[in-house]
């Protein structure tokens, strides 16, 4: 890997301090890379640290947060100077569509005006040019030009989400971070918004980090997925690899827990609950819920290791079995029999 990645996250840790209570270690040593025009999915359940991770990427953590690690954007470490180093890159290189973006608009200002403001302030265009660009952006996300003068309450949920995407694209960033962009929307509107995101990323050449708890949805959009659990990356790999041969029990159980419209095996729950993040964990944090845990899992925390070409997993079981598909792409037998264990 002699090329510099567009974004490189090294050993990211985030702690939150509460009043008097112990610190919550929300992100525990997360590392990953993102290349130009790559679509990466960050999947996990509530409390796994995925939202905190991308807020850290934007430098939008509150003052009770403590961060360590490196976030390299085209080689520059954004974390080296706190907010100072983030500010020049925020919105112009890295932009975010927040969870519940429909509520991110100021209800007393017109939508077009709010987008134009962002362009004017961050993009440096004059008012007139900014307004024109704002209208163009709205058209690009499928909102007719004449609606730019409407107030947020006149937009439907889907339209507000599109407007939020337009706002994120205002200064032509290279990376778009989308935090559960469709969770509050109906399924058909969800599909429309996701399709819009895909199309825009392809047209504008953007890299995308899509955070969601909806595994099949992410699998549809992204090429590569990081599965997170209890603040760590449990498994990382191409969608085809993960579907063919998972290398972490959590990923497998997560697939098994999601209902499939095509029938097949009925979905199964994962018993138990995620560990408390205000305590340090000895050994593997998934062990209490893992059906295949061994002795080593209780004492030693598994490291994220290569288990295939471009596939990483943090599980001791991979040391026992020779990882399949090490020579290259998974074979058909892998894909067929991979999920049964």
């Amino acid at each position: 890997m002699t090329l510099t990645h567009l974004l490189e996250v090294e050993d990211l840790n985030v702690w939150f301090s509460g009043h008097g209570a112990a610190e919550v270690h929300a992100v525990r040593g997360v590392s990953f890379t993102l290349d130009r025009q790559e679509k990466l999915g960050l999947v996990g359940e509530s409390g796994c640290g995925k939202t905190t991770t991308i807020l850290a990427l934007m430098g939008l953590l509150p003052s009770n947060a403590t961060v360590s690690g490196r976030i390299l954007l085209n080689g520059t470490d954004l974390l080296s100077g706190g907010d100072r180093t983030f500010q020049p890159h925020r919105w112009t290189d890295l932009a975010m569509v927040f969870q519940g973006a429909m509520n991110a608009f100021n209800p007393v200002l017109r939508v077009g005006r709010q987008i134009a403001d962002a362009i004017h302030i961050r993009g440096g265009l004059k008012r007139g040019a900014a307004t024109a660009r704002a209208t163009d952006l709205l058209e690009m996300v499928g909102i007719p030009r004449q609606r730019a003068g409407d107030y947020p309450h006149q937009f439907s949920g889907g339209m507000k989400q599109r407007a939020a995407i337009a706002l994120a694209l205002a200064c032509s960033p290279d990376i778009l971070l989308a935090d559960e962009p469709t969770t509050a929307l109906d399924v058909i509107v969800q599909a429309q918004v996701i399709e819009l995101l895909e199309r825009l990323c392809d047209e504008q050449g953007l890299a995308l980090v899509l955070v969601s708890h909806d595994l099949p949805l992410v699998a549809q959009v992204c090429e590569r997925i990081n599965v997170m659990y209890a603040g760590r990356v449990a498994e990382s790999g191409l969608v085809t690899q993960l579907q063919g041969h998972t290398a972490h029990p959590y990923t497998e159980l997560l697939f098994a827990a999601t209902p499939d419209i095509e029938g097949g095996e009925p979905p199964a729950s994962i018993p138990g609950v995620p560990p408390r993040l205000d305590q340090e964990v000895v050994g593997c944090s998934f062990r209490p819920r893992c059906p295949s845990a061994i002795d080593r899992c209780a004492s030693e925390e598994p490291e994220l290791k290569r288990v295939g070409s471009g596939q990483l997993a943090a599980c001791h079981l991979n040391d026992l079995r020779p990882p399949a598909g090490l020579a290259g792409t998974p074979t058909d037998t892998d894909r067929a029999g991979g999920r049964a264990r």
Binding site: L60, G69, P271, R276, Q279
Partner: protein, 336 residues
């Protein structure tokens, strides 16, 4: 590792978490954490204790002449004597008693009536709500001073009359505020659930709605107390107070009528006024703290661009090691 029957791991037995999350207990927690709130509370408690123990604390009996009128403060009389030769300090303590009594009694009436009407109007809505709110509107516009004058004229002015008049006019704000809260709470799922179960309205209101409304009632009561005491002071100053009882307001009234200021006797005017001001400020501090704790939206937003702190990798590792030894190896088996 796991049994065939998925026995769900139990939440860790956390002593603090095992307390019922009573809204009032949470309220107390936030007051305790606020310096201004605690200041207000402590001042009020001290004044209340002082008032209760008046016979023990006051150096001289109140309405007894102990020296020449308008004698300046001295060692024997820390705040001097007023126009009748009574000890100002003793008068102050006894006057505090009366003022607090009026304040608390009037507020009690206002809170009870206001909460009742507010909850009923907010919970039931519809016709009941309309009728109760029209009644509230009617009481809202009745002016205090003319009413008090009329009452004093017809039935004489006594403490009871003042209490009733203030109480009868100040329940309206409580009712309006509580009604708004009740309307919001009515939509909460666990209340709708109780209704869907077939619980009677009385049950839903007393067991589920009222406890959630209590913090707002407390905040309102505290602020009402300061209003009631101030109003009583004003009414007494205007001569509508009980001629027999001495309150802080009547003290100022006497001083004013007997030309204390031209006699240069500031000690007859300032202390009662100052004490009223202290009570009002203490109530406001406490009441405001309670109000703030009720409204989470008043707290600063989560997503603001403020500096987070940085920690180097070595510090992170050291911290992890420390936390591991502290929690005795971090019990992975008790997830929450």
């Amino acid at each position: 590792m796991l049994s065939a029957q998925p026995a769900l791991p139990v939440a860790e037995q956390d002593a603090a978490a095992d307390l019922s999350p009573s809204p009032l207990r949470e309220l107390w927690g936030s007051v305790r954490g606020s310096p201004s709130g605690m200041t207000g509370l402590i001042v009020l408690v001290i004044l209340i204790l002082l008032a209760i123990a008046a016979p023990l604390v006051a150096p001289y009996p109140p309405n007894t002449q102990v020296g020449a009128p308008f004698s300046p403060p001295s060692v024997h009389h820390l705040l001097g004597l007023d126009d009748g030769g009574y000890d100002v300090l003793s008068l102050l303590i006894y006057g505090l008693r009366v003022s607090l009594l009026v304040g608390f009694a009037a507020t009690f009436i206002a809170s009870v009536v206001g909460t009742l009407i507010g909850v009923v109007a907010g919970y039931f809505g519809g016709l009941v709500d309309s009728i109760l709110m029209r009644i509230t509107d009617y009481f809202l516009v009745v002016p205090l001073l003319p009413l008090m004058i009329v009452v004093a004229d017809l039935w004489g002015s006594s403490l009871v009359h003042i209490i009733v008049v203030i109480g009868a006019l100040s329940w309206t704000m409580t009712a309006i505020v509580i009604r708004a809260q009740a309307r919001t709470l009515r939509e909460r799922v666990f209340i709708r659930r109780s209704q869907a179960l077939g619980a009677s309205d009385v049950r839903v209101i007393t067991r589920h709605l009222l406890p959630q409304v209590m913090p707002l009632v407390v905040a309102n009561t505290v602020l009402n107390i300061s209003y009631a005491i101030f109003t009583e002071t004003a009414l007494s100053f205007l001569g509508l107070g009980d001629p027999v009882q001495v309150s802080l307001g009547t003290m100022i009234e006497h001083a004013f009528l007997r030309a204390a200021i031209s006699a240069g006797a500031w000690w007859a005017v300032i202390p009662p006024g100052a004490l009223v001001a202290i009570i009002v400020v203490a109530c406001s501090l406490l009441g405001r703290t309670i109000e703030d704790s009720l409204n989470p939206r008043l707290r600063t937003a989560y997503l603001s661009v403020r500096s987070f702190r940085m920690r180097s990798a070595e510090q992170a590792r050291a911290r992890a090691r420390q936390a591991r030894t502290q929690s005795g190896g971090g019990d992975v088996d008790s997830p929450s």
